[in-house]
Assembly symmetry: none
Homo-oligomer: 94 residues x 4
Amino acid sequence: MPTPSVGHNSDAMLDTDEPVAADQLRLFIERIERLEGEKKGVADDIKDVYSEAKSSGYDAKTMRMIVQLRKMKAEARAERDMLLETYKAALGLD
Amino acid sequence: MPTPSVGHNSDAMLDTDEPVAADQLRLFIERIERLEGEKKGVADDIKDVYSEAKSSGYDAKTMRMIVQLRKMKAEARAERDMLLETYKAALGLD
Amino acid sequence: MPTPSVGHNSDAMLDTDEPVAADQLRLFIERIERLEGEKKGVADDIKDVYSEAKSSGYDAKTMRMIVQLRKMKAEARAERDMLLETYKAALGLD
Amino acid sequence: MPTPSVGHNSDAMLDTDEPVAADQLRLFIERIERLEGEKKGVADDIKDVYSEAKSSGYDAKTMRMIVQLRKMKAEARAERDMLLETYKAALGLD
DNA sequence: GAACTTATGTCGGTGC
DNA sequence: GCACCGACATAAGTTC
C-alpha cells in the first residue's frame, strides 16, 4: 500500500520513502505524457484523413457533419438500449 | 439505390465511377470513425491513469499542472533549438 | 457612438469620457449579472420539476435519459436538415 | 410499460390511472424541456452581451473576472449576514 | 468566428 | 446522517 505521504522504512529507517514516492509520481506523469503524445498523434491522423479526402474532392465540413450525424445515431441507439435496461430493471424483468 | 448523384462514364468504360466514389467516401468516413474511436480510447486511458494516481494519493489537479508545465518547457526548448538551427543555417554552419 | 477607448468630447473637451465609459461597462456587467440570476432561477426550476416528479413516483435518472434521448433525436433531425441544405447548395439546387 | 408507480383505482373508479400517469410523465418531461429551452435562451443572451461589450472595446475575459469577483463578494456578504442572524437568534435578539 | 479540448463546478451515489 | 467521491454538464480557452 504505497502512499505518497511520508512514512518509515521497515529496515532501519533508511530514508528511501521519498525517492520511491517521487519515482511513482514521475512514472504516472510519464505514462500520461506518453498517452497524450499518442492522442495527439491520432488527432493528427484524423486531420490527415480530412486533408486527403479534400484532395479527392470531398468537402471537410460536410464530412464532419456526416460523422457527427452517425455518431449521434449510434449514441441515441445506445441510450435507447440503456433506457430499455432501466425499464426492465425497474419492472424486475432482468 | 446506390447513389443520388448523377453522372455517366464516357466511352466504353463500365459504370464503376459512382460506386467507386461512394466507396471512397465511405472509406474516408470509416477511417475517421475508427481513429475517433482510438482517440477516445486513449483519452479514457489517460483518465484511468489520473484515477490510479489519485488512488495512490496524488492530486489530479496538481498533476495536470505538472504535465502542462513540462509541456511548456519542452515546447520552449524545441523553439530554442529551432531558432538555433535557423541561425546555424543562416551562417552556413549546418 | 460611445466607445470605451479614449476620445474627445465634441464640446470644448469637457472630460466626460471616462464616466461614460465606466457607466457603459457597469451597465454591461449589470445586464450580465441579471441574466445570470435568471439562468440560475431557471436551473432551480428544473430541479424543482425533477423533485416534484420524484414525489410522484418517477425516477429522475430515467427522466433525464428520456429528455436527453429526445434532445438527441431533435438535434439529429436538425443536423439532417442542415446536411440536406448543404447538399442542395453543393448541387446548386437552392 | 405503464407507470413507474403501481396503483389501482379504488372502487368504482374508471380505469384512468395509466393514461393519467402517462400524461403526467409527459407533462413533466415537457415542462423540463421548456425550461431547458429557456435556460439555453438566457445563456445565449449572456453570450450576446459579451459580444456586444467586446464590440464596444471591452475584454470578455476581464469582464468575466469582474462578474465572478462581484459574485464572491455578494456571497461573502450573504454569509456574513446569515452568521449575524444566527448569532442574533442564539442570543434571543430576533 | 466556429470547432475542439480542457477545466471547473455541481449533483447524485456511497461508504463510514 | 454527513461527508467524500466519482460522474456529468457547463464553461472557458485555444486553435484553425
